[in-house]
């Protein structure tokens, strides 16, 4: 389904702010698989998601989705294949426009937008139905501006919008990190429902070990822009939070050893 081949990305190359975010990462995701991406800060999780979404050009490598090489496609062109939910609840919706108008925009993701009216009684009925399914009492507020809603409500709507037309791949970038625990669990529950119902191929970045353990059928742990661990099937099912924490400790320790050695070498030779 999704093939990421030997992808490199360095931000601000040649400056003091140089960040080597992706360092030759390769990854294959099967159709219908729900992959949870874990990793320390700066490990490249979000960068990987943005690389798939086309937010920036790659330095090297190739991204193939459903047999099509999309490496050189712009962000908006890839959008016909992708559903995206961002970490910031304000990123996924247009605040000055009504709920209905936002949904109307989502209902034509990747399609031609012509001179037909965006809202009509038929589309309104459909919007009402599906917004009701969120169970957030938003179905009677379709004409209210989205900017007046809470972060959780906006994130739930963004999820609905991202999956309104079934995407080939759903990208969730820490989409509950900015929410309070109760709202976060509500959004996670919606995620499970929607992904399960439509059998969506999903890439989810999270910081929550609990989410990683509870959700999905594969855990990939990134470190320094590469895949450090990859668990699927039986292994993934039996992986628990303490196991994941232990792996994180391992990675951190290697990091420290690396640093110690670097300092030692520096002291010896420079």
């Amino acid at each position: 389904m999704l093939k990421i081949k030997d992808v490199y990305k360095t931000f601000n190359p040649g400056t003091p702010n140089e960040v080597r975010a992706l360092q030759g990462i390769s990854l294959t995701v099967e159709e219908g698989s729900f992959v949870v991406l874990l990793g320390t800060n700066g490990s490249g999780k979000s960068t990987l998601l943005n690389a798939v979404a086309g937010s920036f050009p790659l330095d090297r490598g190739q991204i193939v989705l459903d047999g099509v090489d999309i490496t050189d496609w712009g962000e908006h062109r890839r959008a016909s294949y992708l559903g995206r939910v961002f970490q910031n609840p304000f990123s996924g919706t247009a605040p000055g426009m009504s709920i209905a108008e936002n949904l109307a925009l989502a209902s034509r993701r990747g399609l031609f937008r012509g001179l037909g009216l965006a809202l009509n009684s038929g589309s309104r009925r459909e919007f009402r139905e599906r917004v009701r399914s969120l169970d957030m009492d938003l179905e009677d507020r379709l004409d209210n501006a989205i900017g007046g809603l809470s972060g959780g409500q906006r994130q739930a709507l963004t999820l609905l919008m991202a999956t309104w037309l079934k995407p080939k791949l759903l990208l969730l970038d820490e989409h509950t990190a900015a929410l309070d625990p109760k709202t976060a669990s509500k959004v996670i529950q919606l995620t499970e429902e929607i992904v399960g119902r439509d059998q969506l191929t999903t890439l989810m970045v999270t910081h929550s070990m609990q989410q990683a353990v509870n959700l999905g059928d594969r855990i990939i742990m990134l470190h320094r822009g590469q895949v450090a661990y990859d668990f699927k099937g039986y292994e993934k099912k039996h992986l628990q939070v303490p196991d994941l924490l232990a792996l994180f400790d391992d990675l951190r320790r290697t990091e420290q050893i690396d640093q110690n050695i670097a300092e030692l070498l520096a002291a010896e030779y420079i």
Binding site: A104, A106, R108
Partner: protein
């Protein structure tokens, strides 16, 4: 009274300027100074075609098209060549000054002997009521032609405002509004925001050029300097209209742009009548816009300071 009707007519002609600025400044949040060049461009290209005897409708259409191209150029500079927003407008505006001079061949063109959009109207009124006809409004004499012109421009303004409102409710129109509201979101939903901006600025400047073309025909001449200060003029009109009408929906914002344009022109003509020096007009307009921009924040600050418990 005749003066008042004239002021309303010009206010209505400048409605298209306000609508154009509404698109760039409010929909895209893009301070597009191309307006000053495309306003004069509309006037210049319509005028030169009219003196050579081209059909007034065709001449006006060509003027609108030229404004569309000017706006698209600014959009292209900003999106494809990554020129800063304000700078891309300034570059096109400056280039247009020379282009407008080239188009007209001199700094102004008189339309007194040319056939304009208002000529058939004049003929019609003359035929129906005679050349000296006038109406009495509130006890004042108003020439029938002035009244007819005012009504004609009013109808065009209403139709265009209505069409614009309709456009902003279509699929492509909502995508355009979303481009200004949250570009990241609409890109993730498959819309190329660059194309939207280029097209939107084209639309904005097409309306502004229409305003310039109509003004040239209404006042009987086009001048290369007619665009100077029009950006601030348009913003002032928007601010007044928004204060009067509100901005709760796109439809209301459009009505606000139209009515603000008329009210502002009326205020200006009253001020001029009272003895305001026309040379001071741009200064006063600029100060007015500055006050409207700065006052809300300033009042907020005072309120916060008052609310603070005294030490």
């Amino acid at each position: 009274m005749s003066l008042l009707v004239g002021a309303i007519s010009i206010g209505l002609v400048l409605t298209f300027l306000a609508l154009g600025i509404f698109i760039s400044l409010r929909v895209f949040k893009f301070a597009d100074i191309t307006a000053e060049g495309s306003f004069a461009l509309g006037g210049a290209s319509a005028a030169i075609l009219l003196v050579t005897g081209v059909n007034p409708f065709l001449a006006t259409f060509v003027a609108v098209l030229s404004g569309f191209l000017a706006g698209m150029t600014t959009g292209l500079l900003n999106t494809r060549l990554k020129v800063h927003e304000l700078l891309s407008g300034i570059l096109v505006m400056t280039a247009l000054y020379s282009i407008n001079l080239r188009i007209m061949g001199k700094s102004n063109v008189s339309l007194l002997n040319a056939e304009t959009l208002f000529t058939p109207l004049q003929r019609l009124v003359d035929k129906m009521y005679g050349p000296e006809a006038y109406a009495i409004i509130l006890g004042w004499k108003v020439s029938s032609f002035d009244l007819a012109a005012c009504l004609g421009v009013f109808l065009v303004a209403v139709v265009i405002a209505w069409l614009l409102n309709l456009f902003f409710r279509t699929h492509i129109g909502t995508a355009m509004r979303a481009t200004g509201d949250n570009p990241q979101m609409i890109r993730a939903l498959g819309q190329d925001t660059n194309t939207m901006l280029i097209f939107g600025l084209g639309l904005s400047n097409a309306l502004i050029a229409l305003s310039g073309a109509l003004l040239a025909q209404f006042q009987g001449f086009a001048d290369v300097q007619m665009g100077i200060g029009m950006m601030v003029w348009g913003i002032a009109s928007l601010i007044i209209g928004e204060a009067l009408i509100g901005i709760r929906s796109t439809a209301m914002s459009i009505v606000a742009a139209v009515s603000g344009s008329i009210v502002f022109r009326l205020l200006v003509s009253i001020a001029l009548r009272w003895g305001l020096n026309p040379n001071d007009l741009k200064l006063i307009t600029a100060v007015f816009v500055l006050l409207a921009l700065a006052l809300p924040g300033f009042l907020d600050k005072i309120k916060r300071t008052e609310g603070r418990p005294s030490a």
